[in-house]
């Protein structure tokens, strides 16, 4: 199914938390500041409803998104007040993809865990949590995965300050 078909189906089944869609567009020739947007289309979902939304995508027979391929976060800019959390779904039977985005406030960032819908989310969420300081509420195993347990700070944040030393080892 193409993106429009997927969105139409999501509206039909009343997937919870669907806010809007964002599709690539060419630059507006009238407006010189507008440069357009390249890349993929995605859907914007309310963070609090993300679990229900993913479950709807997985369980609907026409959408049949049986794989959570990727879950990642992005800090778009140090001045920005929100993180993006991106979910990439894939259907092995219908052979289509869907990109989902949820925006969460940086201050006390938290979002419900998707591990109840896809166990694949478990490790990805651990990585996001340590790299961005996002709390995945209800995660069964919220330990660090790539960083040491005593690491200070969240490295993939744009405002991250590089440490000058770690356990007496100079990093400069």
């Amino acid at each position: 199914m193409e993106f429009e078909g997927i969105i139409q189906r999501l509206r039909e089944i009343g997937a919870p938390g669907l806010v809007s869609t964002d599709e690539p567009r060419a630059a507006d020739p009238e407006d010189k500041k507008d440069k357009g947007r390249a890349g993929d289309a995605f859907v914007l979902v309310e963070p609090s409803a993300i679990v229900g939304f993913l479950a709807a995508c997985r369980d609907d027979a026409e959408l049949a998104f049986d794989l959570l391929v990727d879950l990642s976060a992005t800090d778009p800019d140090a001045a920005d007040e929100q993180f993006w959390i991106d979910y990439q779904l894939l259907s092995t039977t219908r052979r289509h993809r869907l990109a989902i985005k949820a925006l969460v406030a940086k201050e006390g960032a938290e979002i419900p865990t998707a591990t109840a819908v896809y166990r694949a989310a478990g490790w990805h969420e651990r990585e996001c949590a340590e790299m961005f300081g996002i709390t995945f509420v209800g995660h069964p195993d919220p330990r660090n995965i790539l960083l040491p347990d005593d690491w200070v700070g969240h490295p993939l944040r744009k405002d991250y300050e590089f440490p000058t030393e770690y356990h007496g080892i100079s990093c400069e």
Partner: protein
């Protein structure tokens, strides 16, 4: 303490008794138990264990010979690839992609280049696409040869490893001729490939294909159908279909469980759509031929037979490649249009995904790498409990992880 007036042999037989209790092992055999108390024991497999194929540690909890829990610990090889991606220019990041799955550097180059090209919207010359396909598939063969050889090594078969490295050496020599490097190629660039082939290179690839097809039969006989090998891998580490989907497995891991899904065929990119239309290759699936569907042998079978499919793809490309430009005309300092794109391609280990975000400048806002090994490794927590400690190596080896990619 044995009393001095007691016969030692009688005392021994009194202590070691066979009360008749037994338990059924995962292999179906029954094990008679002595009245010896077994205690929970924690075993660290790694970080420097040869069978983890890199620096990874698996904390295994055992009760006697049975594994009751397994917990992989990663991060020993974490090199901040994603953070580097936000700090260097688009083209400068390319050599870093070589270093996550260092056994399939061509495929990593391809995944990153395609993600950036998805934002650029640039037309890639046909000859470049042909060369990309040939290199990606040659590298897939090289990667599967390592999987084949080292898995035998893990299970105590040394000879197949030497055979596999003999052919891999030739593959690396071919890459050395085309780009000068043997492991970290950076040959596939954003917009095409770095340089055209040296004279006679394509003929040599064809010669490689001819020889490899003959050698491949030896691999099948020597290791894959070997009775001892089958005994060590069949019915071990079974991943049912639901579990494979739930854990987001991809590549040979998911095809080993019988799920008919290959990104090259099902979400065609580059020339693979044409290849499918021409019927140039098939998708290999596990069928439970030697044991249960989704066991270690099935995953191994998929990797070994995929090498022949890659040869077919290379032959198709060699038959239809034509002279022409090999790289699109792009500026030296690349400015990528604002936007975001996720591109997933079929790496030897599964779906390699790149999620790139651009604000229209010379440097990426975000380069997210979805490594297949990272996701495939998570399933160990679920399949290892309930198996025997002696099978731990067989199960870990069958996931074919590259630690450079799990940690990035």
């Amino acid at each position: 303490m044995i009393e001095s007036n007691q016969d030692p042999a009688a005392a021994m037989s009194e202590r070691i008794t066979f009360p008749g209790a037994s338990r059924t092992l995962p292999t179906g055999e029954r094990e008679f138990m002595m009245d010896v108390r077994t205690a929970d024991l924690e075993i660290n497999m790694g970080p420097q264990h040869p069978a983890t194929h890199g620096v990874m540690r698996i904390l295994i909890r055992t009760d006697g010979e049975l594994i009751t829990g397994a917990q992989p610990h990663l991060g020993y090889l974490h090199r901040c690839a994603e953070k580097i991606g936000e700090n260097v220019e688009w083209l400068q990041y390319l050599p870093y992609t070589d270093r996550y799955d260092y056994l399939a550097a061509m495929n990593n180059n391809l995944g990153y280049s395609m993600a950036v090209e998805a934002l650029l919207g640039e037309e890639i010359p046909r000859r470049a696409q042909m060369l990309r396909t040939i290199c990606a598939e040659l590298n897939r063969i090289g990667s599967h040869l390592i999987a084949f050889g080292t898995y035998g090594l893990d299970l105590g078969a040394f000879t197949p490893f030497l055979y596999a490295f003999r052919e891999r050496e030739w593959m690396m020599a071919l890459f050395e001729k085309i780009c000068g490097a043997r492991l970290t190629y950076s040959y596939l660039r954003i917009g095409g490939v770095f340089n055209d082939t040296p004279p006679g290179w394509l003929q040599e690839v064809e010669h490689f294909c001819d020889v490899f097809e003959e050698k491949h039969k030896e691999y099948v006989d020597l290791l894959m159908m070997n009775h001892i090998f089958v005994k060590r891998t069949a019915d071990i580490g079974v991943i049912p279909v639901e579990m494979a989907l739930d854990f987001g497995l991809t590549g040979p891991m998911i095809r080993g469980s019988g799920i008919d899904f290959d990104l090259r065929r099902d979400t065609p990119y580059m020339l693979y759509g044409e290849l499918i239309d021409a019927g140039a290759f098939d998708v290999v699936l596990g069928s439970g031929a030697k044991g249960t569907l989704g066991d270690c042998w099935d995953r191994f079978y998929v990797r070994v037979m995929e090498m022949i499919e890659s040869i077919k793809i290379i032959r198709w490309c060699l038959g239809s490649i034509e002279p022409g430009p090999v790289i699109a005309a792009l500026p030296k300092v690349l400015k990528v249009p604002a936007g975001e794109a996720y591109v997933g391609i079929e790496n030897p280990r599964g779906e390699l995904g790149h999620f790139v975000v651009s604000d229209g400048g010379k440097v990426a806002r975000r380069v997210r790498v979805r490594g297949p090994s990272f996701c495939n490794l998570a399933v160990l927590e679920a399949i290892m409990p309930g198996t025997l400690l002696a099978d731990a190596v067989a199960i870990v080896g069958s996931t074919d992880v590259v630690i450079g990619e799990t940690d990035r």
